[in-house]
């Protein structure tokens, strides 16, 4: 299946802004993170099709995943 992965803020550094990825059926958000060399604890929020999900969330063909690192400074 194909999913669209969107990265934000510092996650784009050395990676990309938006890319399509081919994944095997029943892949989870966790598999996308592994593919991108991002640790689950580095993610502040993950949206799939605009909804807030956990890293165990199972993906479907055509999903859009948006990943944000924690931006916490003041």
């Amino acid at each position: 299946m194909r999913v669209t992965v969107k990265l934000f803020a510092t996650f784009r550094d050395g990676r990309f802004k938006v890319e399509e990825k081919n994944l095997s059926e029943d892949s989870q958000v966790l598999d996308v993170l592994q593919l991108l060399n991002i640790l689950p604890e580095e993610v502040a929020i993950c949206l799939v099709n605009g909804r807030d999900v956990k890293e165990q969330h199972v993906l479907n063909d055509g999903d859009t995943i948006a990943l944000f690192p924690p931006v916490g400074g003041g």
Partner: protein
Amino acid sequence: MTIEGRYLRNKKTLTDEDQQKLAKSCVAIVGCGGLGGYIAEELARIGVGRLVLIDGDRLEVSNLNRQIMATELNIGQWKVEAARDRLRSVNSEVKVESIKEWFKEEKGPEMFREVDLVFDALDSPATRVELERVCHRLKLPLVFASIAGWFGQIGVSLPGDFSVLRLFGHGERGVESTWGNPAFTPAVLASLSVAEGVKLLAGRMPALRRAWLQVDLLTMEFERFEINNT
């Protein structure tokens, strides 16, 4: 000092009625660093009547790159006192209360006793979540903003929303620990926060309730995301 014509250029963005509402308002700014300093500056200039500044830190040399209240002459001074001194020369009609303490959940009710609106300008994700909890309990609207490098996030959390918990509920530190904070990012995010805060004080609808604006000053993209309470 009352100066005739001080708020002339607030028109007609703000009506006379709006201006009176601001003058009668009391606003707390939690964290008086990069974001909090600019927020305080703008609220004083626009004519908010009372400001409660909360920060337990003193100014240091590394603050000079971005904190509007920091100058070479006041290094070592309490941040909230440096802010009060500057604001006095900007708008002496504004009453400024300086609290030289760190915000803690249990101190919230005392700190926010007469407050109408709270700005989250903190730098610790865990404390941000505590602050949202306190604001909900006290039925206070909250404008939150955060920064790291070229990036920032800003939104509004009204009682019953859990925007801050959603965004800052995971992890102890943000990427600012490696990317730092340059001069322009706090200024932009503080201004966006004040724009939302002024709407709340004037009784208008904020634009970023149950949402946040993801700000990227590297690509100059501002993107809005919804926060779903599910």
